[in-house]
Amino acid sequence: MELKPCVNIRQEWDIVGARQLGREKAKELGFGTVDQARIATAISELARNIYLYAGTGKVEFEIIDQFDRKGLKIVAADEGPGIRDVGEVMQDGYSTSGGLGAGLPGVKRLMDYFDIRSENGEGTEIEAIKWVR
């Protein structure tokens, strides 16, 4: 099996690495500049969350090639404290009001598919997909 491209997040600088790798994959897939920028922003947001709230984790990329469409899947996973109330952080205005940026609702908007699983004390895994238009 092909090893998935992956960036470990340990320090703030790794966020840039994750963006870079994600953008390369997006370019390869043929995403336009606007979508590339959106994907990079989503990656930033996910990687920053790992860096800020879990300390360490990883961002994985997977190219999805289906018969009728192609896309980029981003998986951000950590073994941090987890999110106690997912519903709350998915609300508009939850993180933006504190000036923390787009927040998870922003990631959801930037991407086409978004899924989050979080266990208290066991970490968080977020999957997001953007399809090439």
């Binding site: 336009g32 500049t33 606007v34 920028a37 959106r38 922003t41 508009d92 205005g93 922003g106 238009r133």
Partner: protein
């Protein structure tokens, strides 16, 4: 996506025109384009993208790499603004949903708290209650009995908005559940106090005035639970007198005794009951004086009671630039014979 294509065409045309003529008309059209884009949820990064594409088509192969890269840089810098726009639009939709829910609740409150202004021989009744916002924390209620006595309640929740409105519904249903023979103002307040003390959050207080008019003895008995004092108008002497009644606001202590007083009512005399939305009417930074309130009331007192309260309300509404700061409730009882 097709609409964006169409927009690109239009944008390229406008841009070309502007680059050729440097004309204000093109700039005005750019403004129109901007407005249309906001209406269609088109985010700033998409406009920049359209701009880049338009430039490329207008000057094929002639855009310096640095300019092209710098525009891509700008596009990246606009991403968060695009997200903020979407969030704003989403929040605006949610706000209008909430507003319509609140207006449904407000209508329901109106139905729940509705009171019929009774026809009592010899008494002309006027009453108005206007909420400052959707839902009112003021309340008034008339109880007409077969023996022609008239009970009148006026209350104000300290605090505004929905919690205040919910408390008021409770007051109304408690009053409805009291036995028919128990119509003495002090007894009613004592019972309500118990209900409020048991059921309402300790931080919320309700002031209330309850009066009972008995046409046989031509007397008005009343008691007050910390409510804004009303006024008694002596027609013969053409003067106002504050209705003195003291009592603790509802809900502070479990057992409270309320003092009940009785006044004899003469022909043409008036009883004026109100909430602090009337007396604490604000003009700019200044609270209006009670004397000024009385002057306004007196000015309209010769009119039928309902007309009088409506004119007084309109006067204060205008004075506050048609924007009430507090719920406004005013009742006038006029003895006709």
């Amino acid at each position: 996506m097709e609409s964006v294509e169409l927009d690109l065409e239009n944008y390229r045309k406008l841009l070309k025109e502007y680059l050729l003529t440097n004309d204000e008309t093109a700039l005005y059209q750019a403004e129109q384009f901007s407005k249309l884009s906001v209406q269609h949820n088109i985010s700033p990064e998409e406009i920049i993208h359209v701009h880049i594409e338009a430039l490329k088509e207008l000057y094929p192969g002639m855009i310096p790499r640095e300019i092209n890269d710098s525009l891509n840089f700008l596009l990246e810098a606009m991403i968060s603004y695009g997200l903020a726009l979407q969030e704003y639009q989403h929040l605006r939709e949610r706000q209008s949903e909430l507003e319509s829910e609140i207006s449904i609740a407000a209508n329901m409150q109106k139905t729940l708290l509705s009171t019929v202004k009774p026809t009592i021989k010899g008494i002309d009744i006027g009453a108005i209650s206007v909420p400052a916002s959707h839902m009112s924390g003021d309340y008034y209620h008339f109880v007409a009995d077969t023996d022609d006595t008239l009970g009148v309640a006026i209350a104000d929740v300290i605090g505004k908005g929905i919690p205040a409105a919910l408390s008021m519904s409770m007051i109304k249903y408690s009053m409805d559940s009291f036995p028919e023979n128990q119509r003495q103002p002090s007894a009613i307040l004592e019972n309500l106090n118990r209900v409020v003390e048991r059921n309402v959050d300790p931080g919320m207080f309700i002031t209330m005035f309850y009066g009972l008019y008995d046409p046989k003895s031509e007397t008005f008995s009343y008691a007050s639970a910390g409510h804004e004092p009303g006024f008694y108008y002596h027609a013969k002497e053409d003067r106002f007198e504050e209705i003195e009644a003291s009592g603790l606001v509802l809900g502070v202590q479990e057992h409270v005794n309320y003092e009940q007083s009785v006044s004899k009512i003469e022909k043409d005399d008036c009883i004026i009951l109100l909430t602090d939305g009337v007396t604490e009417c604000r003009i700019g930074d200044r609270f209006i004086e009670r004397d000024e309130v009385l002057e306004v009331i007196k000015h309209y007192l010769h009119l039928p009671a309902q007309e009088a309260v409506e004119y007084v309300y309109r006067y204060f509404e205008r004075l506050q630039d048609f924007h009430l700061k507090d719920d406004f409730t005013l009742i006038i009882l006029k003895k006709e014979v």
